[in-house]
């Protein structure tokens, strides 16, 4: 049986391809990131895991990307953020067994090269951050900085230290995110308090961070982040609340948003 001389099987394959492309387009569309507006403030959040295809029953090595930003609707200055809380779902595992740690004091006032010299063995990610600087009697300007993430331990808790360096104007910040475990959908929370001593940095407009690290410990290959796609056999893909970001602002407001993402089952 054929349609205009084309075997039906070929048409079926073409249809399946188109369907797959349509589903991919739908998923890709949602991967552009979600936004939420609270008053005059727009908060955006995006991110995902790579690879998308993961085992159903055990966690596999992945990289995690998370980006977000704050902007105002009327070009007024972005308020100062005093606390950041990032929630990640329970199917992800942060494995630091045998991974060296780095202390904030080892990174203070270091250039990117200096930070790597001090803590290369604890490196777990990288990224970028943009901040808005408004100084009295000066035109506002933006600074862009490269981020590096290092594995750490603060007061006995797992932590990630972000090291941001901007060459123009030269400035460095070292910001520890402490990991806390909670009940509920976002079991893993990364929390950072941003003291006023950080200067202009808390007026950040955009951040992007990729976390990924493979290492060996006691002869075994390990990954800093692992995740699974725990969905039943009947399904080939699943959807989950991937991340939640909330920002506490210096005017007392707390704004937040969450994003949902998908994963595909590998077996």
């Amino acid at each position: 049986m054929s349609v205009r001389g084309t075997p039906r099987r070929l048409w079926a394959a073409a249809f399946a391809f188109l369907l797959a492309a349509a589903v991919t387009a739908v998923l890709a569309g949602s991967a552009r990131g979600e936004r939420a507006q609270h008053g005059d403030l727009i908060l955006s959040l995006d991110g995902g895991l790579s690879p998308l295809a993961l085992p159903r029953d055990h966690p596999a090595p992945v990289s995690l990307r998370l980006s977000g930003g704050l902007q105002t609707t009327d070009e007024t200055p972005v308020p100062r953020v005093t606390r950041v809380e990032l929630g990640l779902p329970g199917q992800g595992v942060l494995d630091v067994r045998g991974l060296p740690t780095c202390l904030p004091r080892q990174l203070r006032n270091t250039t990117p090269a200096g930070s790597l010299k001090a803590c290369r063995s604890a490196l777990v990610g990288h990224g970028k951050i943009d901040a808005e600087v408004r100084l009295p009697n000066q035109e506002p300007f933006r600074i862009k900085a490269d981020l590096r993430a290092f594995n750490s331990r603060i007061d006995g808790r797992k932590a990630i230290i972000l090291h941001a360096f901007s060459p123009d104007p030269p400035s460095v910040i070292v910001l520890p995110f402490v990991l806390r475990l909670h009940a509920g959908r976002f079991k893993t929370r990364l929390i950072a308090n941003l003291p006023p001593s950080l200067g202009p940095w808390p007026h950040f407009t955009h951040f992007e961070v990729h976390l990924f690290r493979r290492y060996r410990y006691r002869g075994r290959e390990r990954s800093y982040i692992r995740a699974s796609c725990p969905i039943p056999k009947k399904f080939s893909a699943g959807f989950f609340s991937f991340a939640h970001a909330s920002f506490l602002l210096d005017d007392g407001r707390e704004i937040g948003t969450g994003i949902a993402r998908s994963c595909r089952a590998r077996n």
């Binding site: 589903v23 739908v26 998923l27 569309g29 949602s30 979600e34 936004r35 939420a36 507006q37 609270h38 008053g39 727009i42 609707t73 959908r185 725990p230 969905i231 039943p232 056999k233 009947k234 399904f235 080939s236 893909a237 699943g238 959807f239 609340s241 969450g258 949902a260 998908s262």
Partner: protein, 161 residues
Amino acid sequence: MVSKSISFALLLLVALLAAAPAPAAEAPTRTEYVQQLEGICKPDALATQRTMKGARAEVQEERLDAAAVKFAKATGIYGGTVEAMAAVPRPGADLEKLGKWFTYLKRQVTNLRQITAELRAEHAIKAQRLTARFIHNGNLANNVVLAFGFNYCSFKFSRYG
């Protein structure tokens, strides 16, 4: 004579007022509109959250029929919410934007209804595809009314189990 003309003028005024069309319901401001809609959405959003509690676990345990019951209830709630929202007068300046938003919201009701049907029929893959569409469409709907700052009326995946 004077009093007769005054009475006539008064009568004419009354007649004119009576004949004048009733003033149309004044269009609300955006703030008033958001407040009114949030008042409708809040109890329904909370009810949806309660209804959908455990749906994820049921899908996980492959009890699709049980999950379908929850989706059916959520569809009923959401359909009623959208209907009640649609009846509220809209701010004049936002008519086009809100028209687009309601198109997305009605599509969400259809998506939920279809997911329910596919779950009931144990068509897991079809339900999965529709869920992707449901999430994507919900995000598109949110983007249209971003400036309104809705909370309970905006789409949140976390409310669905």
